[in-house]
Symmetry: D3
Subunit: 253 residues, 6 copies
């Protein structure tokens, strides 16, 4: 079963400090995780915020991301992953295309829901907790969320000293397990996920750890292989598009 999946980075990553090298590293990781026949391509938007650390930056990132997802469908991709744990623009994207669009947060939470009674999310900052709790409401699994705990290492410093990062992640993971009774964990940040330390952390704290990037790839593969996509009743094509307007017609300057 051959399929092409676009991993759409909602920021101009190739122009930033991580650059194309990191994009290629992530692409290689995802292709390594995929089933035979699946090809994952990492593509970034041409402009937008350097990173997404606030609702404001998320809102700036969405319009170019939606344009890119429409373009991916036209280019023949079978599915798209929105490459940010906040799943920015997920509902709007589902209005615009008929191929499956998945968000790593939704994918990872639904996967973690079946791994135990409750799961916790490791996030970056305390200011993100409320938003990630609301993402669990959107995913429909709020009842399964034990806690969201911050690690307090900024995204760009996560890769600076992997051993320091790992030690911190283990400490916070242990608090989730011991104090919040989490049976499973997930990384609430793509950079944290792509550190690919889940197995080591799972071994330390004794519960499964979900890599949100890997979960999103599997979710996309599952949908494509089943011939399923999101409901167009839930996310219908915008009325003006149905009436023949293009995306650019819809912007009045």
């Amino acid at each position: 079963m051959a399929m092409k999946i676009a991993y759409v980075v909602p920021g101009p990553m190739s122009k930033g400090p991580m650059g194309r090298t990191e994009m290629q590293r992530r692409e290689a990781l995802m292709n390594g995780w995929a089933f035979d026949g699946t090809e994952v391509s990492v593509i970034d938007v041409p402009s937008g915020p350097a990173s997404i650390e606030s609702a404001y930056e998320e809102m700036l990132a969405i319009p170019p991301t939606l344009d890119l997802i429409m373009e991916c469908e036209k280019k023949g991709f079978d599915a798209a992953i929105i490459g940010c744990f906040g799943d920015p623009g997920l509902e709007a994207a589902r209005e615009l295309v008929t191929m499956p669009v998945v968000g790593p947060c939704e994918s990872a939470m639904l996967l973690a829901a079946a791994l135990g009674h409750k799961f916790s999310v490791l996030t970056i900052f305390e200011s993100l907790i409320a938003g990630q709790e609301m993402l669990a409401v959107h995913a429909g699994v709020r009842a399964k969320l034990a806690s969201v705990r911050p690690t307090d290492i900024p995204v760009l410093e996560l890769m600076a000293d992997p051993e320091v990062t790992k030690a911190r992640l283990i400490d916070v993971a242990r608090a989730c397990v011991e104090q919040d009774r989490a049976d499973a964990l997930l990384f609430g940040c793509m950079t944290m996920s792509f550190l690919d330390m889940g197995d080591e952390i799972a071994a330390e704290v004794g519960v499964p750890v979900v890599n949100a990037g890997r979960a999103a790839v599997k979710h996309a593969e599952m949908l494509v292989s089943m011939g399923l996509a999101h409901s167009k009743k839930a996310w219908p094509t915008p009325a003006k598009m149905k009436a023949g307007k293009t995306a650019s017609d819809m912007r009045v300057a």
Copy 2:
């Protein structure tokens, strides 16, 4: 108590079919509803979608709306109202400014919550129901929502024949009251609200009807007069801005 409130229209209304005339009519209505000393100004964004009928158009509308809200704060406004029932960009706007920013949906739902045991929302299309139920979750009053029912009259046709519209609104309102046991109603669309037919409909169906535009003006006045604004702990200034970057610095082209 003197205060200046900006009613920010998240689309280029002055360039559209309703135009400046309708903006002025709405401004006059709101100033008529306000307490003495309050001055409401209706301002639209320079570009964006002609109207918001989908999540996609909502996402397109948000970035210019946020720019305009920041500008309003700089110009000395005391509060801003986001002029669309979906409250587009509300959380991001609260990150960017310290003056109160209110959304008509949140304002109207919190007001309706105290008018009875349950309230219903009259919306435009069936495809908007799930989104408005989620807005009630965000407002914290999902437990008070009896139902969301569509009227099936497109926004631009609402003003075409007021008697036809009123008859339809009364029919749907009655269904909310009789079948869903709503004790109060609110209009889930600003154009519906600005038809200013609430009192007539309330008289027909026997329950109070909340005009979301009017509720937003009162909510803004309430906050300004109390010296209160949203919590910066809940919606902190984006870290890059705290570090000195401007909004335009934050967009990488």
Copy 3:
């Protein structure tokens, strides 16, 4: 816009230790908070419990409070505030009159709901926590309540040494913010509210603090200025009154 609001104290405060002086001080505070044209009058019931510290005292306080609210409507008041944070008799009062009746707890909780993701209530004793959690259920915003924490200073001692009280309030407020992740706070006691220390405490702990008395005044002003009152479908006039009986006819001796 001129309006008269009755702040009905559900105990014979003028006969108690706080006396008329405190009633006048509160009246002055509320008139200072009000919009131009609003006149707030503080009125107490002739008899009842000296203070409300239990469900029993609340039940004793309600019948004279309801009589007084009916009298206020007859005297031409435009709205009534029930002057106790437990909102005693709120639903019954709404059956008896058509002018708006607001309760400080409901008003303050609905106001706080929009200030952040979650709010906490500072109350007097631990025995009041469950009741105030249930008040949040009644207000419809239980999902927004972070916690209720007791300050353990009896009502009558709150005014004894303002600095001691303030220090305690700050400590408890900080626990709400740091341990329960509250983004906003409210005082769950009218005497605590009328100490008028909200701004100082907000400055210390970094989140907005809602004065329940002030919130109730604003809520009443909002409703009157909008021409709205509670739904008579939700709280209908008692059947015997509809059939012509007076309140005193309804008591069989």
Copy 4:
């Protein structure tokens, strides 16, 4: 096991149309339902509303009911039942005495909860639905409530023509079972319960029917026989009483 249970009628029933005859009929019914050794006495308050059809009448009824419950404890009763389905004053009564106090609504709902997946309540008027839904929240079993449906026969007419009443009850019961998927039913009115038609209705509609009066008697017997009473941590003795004041001391005239 010998015990004395007071069934406290929160209105001056002996002075009303039903009179002492009906009180004696109910007393006989309850003694017939009781275990050997249990003696149930029906006692009414000296004054208050003729019947409870509104929150207002409920509030008027509570103070004399609380006085009577305190008196019953002094006279040696082992438990009290509040003889109205709205459980008026239940929480306050539990503050004032240490013997168990039960309310027919709470007793019947907790009993019905174990009879099936969901239960429905047959009530008098539509205006009572929201209140009885809230009683299910207070009882903790809101998740088990299928529906509350009105029968639209006023309390005083329930006994007028038993066959007419029974036919209506069966119709409404059937709607609960067939449309709301109720597996069990309960009468949300004491007069309805004391018609003692539960078995006939159960036979017609095929699900068990709980008589709230009978459930309350059993609940009281259960608690007394187990040596249990409500938690004084949940409903502590009012502080002024702990400090030595009597109930009448607590009323300032």
Copy 5:
């Protein structure tokens, strides 16, 4: 009122370390708790797991327990209690018989629900917490559950040194009351219940303590005396049995 209640032990207790002596001790305790005329018989299944410490052992225990319950009904018992706090097989048993079948967990939780605002459960191991939380969902009173806390004494060691056990139970009970704000407690294990230390622990920690075995006896007595049993609409007789098959016909070997 005479009735016979079977307390069905879902393991071959008579063949295990506790043996017939402990069965007789429990039978005597239950008969001591019962109303006059009630006769409780303790009966165990012929084979199955020695004790139930996992979902696996629970699943093994259910088929013989169901056989025994059917046999009890044929022998003329009026009700059955499933003698394990996990209520194993409760729903299946209700399909198979028309006499009431109660489970100690459900009985105890519904009883505790009315004793205060929230109750806690003392259980054996941390691994049982999630399951007991789900039992509260099944009972319909999840909203009333303050916490489940493990005592960490294995079932078979509970009776080894009663003073050690009592001290541990008091410690954990106190944590429930002080840290989780429980107003009432219940023992989440039959062996813990049959230690019959509830009153001593209640005296120490100041809140009522429910013995699940005693609650189940009272629940069964209540149902039998009211002529009530679980709804056959909720738990219908299996279709093959309705069509004439016996339980053994239904097993294909």
Copy 6:
């Protein structure tokens, strides 16, 4: 990526009317749905109920199913699917093995949760509705469940006349979409799923339809390919097994 998945039928299907032919047909279907390298084997238990139409039959089916799952792990399977929509024995199975064990109901519900705002389940009989609602609670996605509707065609008649069945399924599916606002559907019965009519029904009613059997295969493949299995903290190995006992040691005869 090569893996072996056991589809464990919890009844002696090979001895029943569907027989080995149907087992082989299902095996072929599943292998057709699988990714390259996956091999699915359909295996049934030696004895148990002919079909599962009640909680009783479910309880009878579980012990042999658990034995077979343990055996599958020993034989080198990488994962097991419990071949019944009720997911019988899922939690116990997860205690007994470390390879992933999935249940079609949980798998299908978590998959459907991301396809729209709400999904509905098509089940066999009305008596199964409450149980399937509870399965949604267990899966953690109760908030996403629009409805469960019965088709009223007994399992064994589903295959009798495929056109009749399809017409009925379409009618019920349409009711879910139009009356309950479901955006997606799933078959709550394995025989219904293996009719493999999802695409035709989806085309008729306009929303995606999930085949529970196919979802379970994908869920198992996802977990195996990610190196993940359920949390042993959530479902620990039974203590007696940890101490060295075998499954048969644990049954006292």
